[in-house]
Point group: C2
Chain length 383, copies 2
């Protein structure tokens, strides 16, 4: 494509008017989310630092026995800053400096829980299959430099920060993992969660670097609700989403790195379907830009070797348990999406739609158990 | 709403041009499906009989060891014909006569597997909670009048027909079920499948009439591929879709009856997400029109008693395993959607994306087993 379009929603809004636009938005986005008013100062910070900022609001019914549980959720999408042939430390530090201002803006805008994109400290170098120098971006989840960097900001702004990194697990024989570190608003490391499903598709050669998580589907009880992290490719797995739901998640982040040609038509579908099916909020986050690498690599598609990953299309969004969703952030710009949600909506939607009550888990326990057997006989009816 | 819009795609096409329209369609609908050329005779039949007809084509790569498995899939959406206070037999017969011409058109257009909408022989009367007269629409799956009616057409046109009806199971103490009868292209009844998940939401008081299926997730091996039927509310349950996938389905029909205010923003999401996650084709079918009943009923939403169900919005569509989908049929007109698909695409997408290989069923067998226990402890991490 010659030039990348800014966003789907922009095209719809520029071209369609009045009642027709309302119908299109209702069918495509559900019951309308409101705009969240951000202060002039916040908008100025975004403008001065050249990132998009958008604010939305999802509300719930008032209840007599529970107060509204209002939480501001933040999602950051960004490009890498300097070329991938620069020293590893310089690359990471340049991202720290870029993100510091966006994170501070989130803090000042009252964000309670913030999530960064997948492997945010580095270019998404797994396309190369080279171990050197890329594994040098790996670090300890508990006390690596990015955790230390974010702990200060988390404490300063009383904000939970979810930090998806490439983890080096020194205690367990130096293994690598694709990990999300959950930093509490107190500044303490609350825990970590690892990627449950690893892709082997297109340039996503991640299985060369790390294995599937053996930590299950942890849910983190924070001051601002129960959160979980379904990292990237896990969004294609309804069972993975279900796992976080069974463990009580109210917000599930999906920090991702995915490119247009491969996945864009799926992007609006999967995280949103998960929000509906599991009656929780989902926050889909994708990186921005085209990353070039020093050495050429092939993509297993018969095409010539090349040095870039294709366009990461951003379009981060929030989906609500009732099926409505926010517009996406830009396809081409760094951005901060702030969504004020009421966690009470989760249980309200469960009561309304009844998907959990009618779920029939015992039936599926039996079926999946059978399907894992080597001598599994499928239930096929023949004439 | 004063007047119902014809379709989302019409609005997009009328208002957006050129490259922008292409981008919108790519993001919303995936890699473009081609138009299937229908003969002048077929189009004339549709025009003369006042129903919409649309044809699309989804192709796959050529393989050396398998020939393409091209199948024409048909989906019919329709209104009821005469008022709901007429005698039951008259109502059903009027629908038979209306559907005969649409089914014959499908047969003449070379459809191989055809599916009708949920409870197609009757108005969707479950909103009323009245047993009389509506249970009189129930009939034997094996040799009831609608099965006999369709067997002739199936044989005549060498066409598998999926017939979702209200079943009366006389052998098992006269119980009622929400059932899809699968009639082979030979005219024989190949078998039946029942609704696995029953709604209790809005006017969908179906749990007053019938229970959840105890037949599992049967897949029917037909001359034209392995098919299954996920009836209506089952589309909200990813585990239900998974069940048909585990049993080897290549096409899963989702005959439905659902109204705009409740579910329309979810309509494009769920059946399509299932096609992606399970690497099979899904065919989402919804009825048309607003059905009025003789006696007023309430909807459990604080609003006054009323006599109509709201607008069934049609919009039937086919989603492919690669995430692309056809445009929807009209929101307001009877219609026949013909989609020519290549079943080989299912396995090709499994090989490309690897969702089945990376599915980790044993993890979920364990998790779901735990979650069904009374003393289930959720995996929650606290500070």
């Amino acid at each position: 494509m010659a030039s990348e379009v800014h966003s789907l929603e922009d095209i719809l809004q520029r071209n369609i008017q009045g009642e027709e636009l309302k119908e299109v938005q209702r069918i495509l986005y559900g019951s309308p989310v409101k705009t969240l008013d951000l202060t002039k100062e916040i908008e100025l910070l975004a403008a001065e630092n050249n990132f998009e900022i958008k604010g939305y609001k999802v509300s719930a019914n008032n209840e007599e026995e529970r107060v509204a549980r209002i939480v501001r959720v933040g999602a950051i999408q960004n490009q890498i800053i300097i070329p991938t042939d620069k020293p590893v430390l310089e690359q990471t530090n340049s991202i720290y400096e870029r993100l510091r201002v966006i994170i501070e803006t989130a803090g000042q805008a009252g964000v309670n829980v913030l999530c960064l994109q997948e492997a945010w400290t580095m270019p998404f170098a797994f396309c190369t299959r080279e171990k050197h120098p890329w594994t040098q971006f790996a670090e300890s989840a508990e006390d690596g430099p990015s955790t230390v960097f974010l702990q200060k900001l988390a404490k300063q702004y009383n904000m939970v920060i979810v930090s998806p990194i490439l983890e080096r697990d020194e205690v367990h024989q130096d293994t690598l993992w694709n990990t999300a570190v959950v930093i509490s608003n107190t500044g303490a490391v609350l825990g970590k969660s690892r990627k449950n499903h690893i892709p082997r598709v297109g340039d996503f050669n991640e299985s060369t670097y790390y294995m599937e998580s053996d930590m299950g589907h942890p849910v983190f009880e924070t001051t601002f609700g129960r959160i979980a992290i379904n990292i990237c490719y896990g969004r294609h797995h309804p069972l993975n989403w279900l796992g976080y739901g069974l463990n009580g998640a109210e917000i599930v982040f999906n920090p991702s790195a995915t490119v247009g040609a491969l996945s864009e038509p799926l992007w609006g579908i999967e995280a949103r379907c998960a929000a509906i099916a599991n009656a929780y909020y989902t926050v889909a986050i994708n990186r921005i830009g085209t990353e070039e690498f020093p050495n050429e690599f092939t993509s297993g598609n018969g095409k010539p070797a090349h040095k870039d990953f294709g366009h990461f299309y951003g379009s981060s969004y929030v989906a609500a348990p009732n099926g409505s969703r926010t517009p996406g952030l830009s396809r081409v710009r760094d951005g901060l999406l702030i969504t004020e949600i009421d966690l009470n909506l989760c249980r309200q939607v469960k009561d309304t739609w009844g998907f959990q009550m009618t779920q029939r888990l015992p039936v599926y326990k039996d079926l999946i158990t059978k399907a894992t057997q080597q001598d599994f006989k499928r239930q096929i009816v023949k004439e």
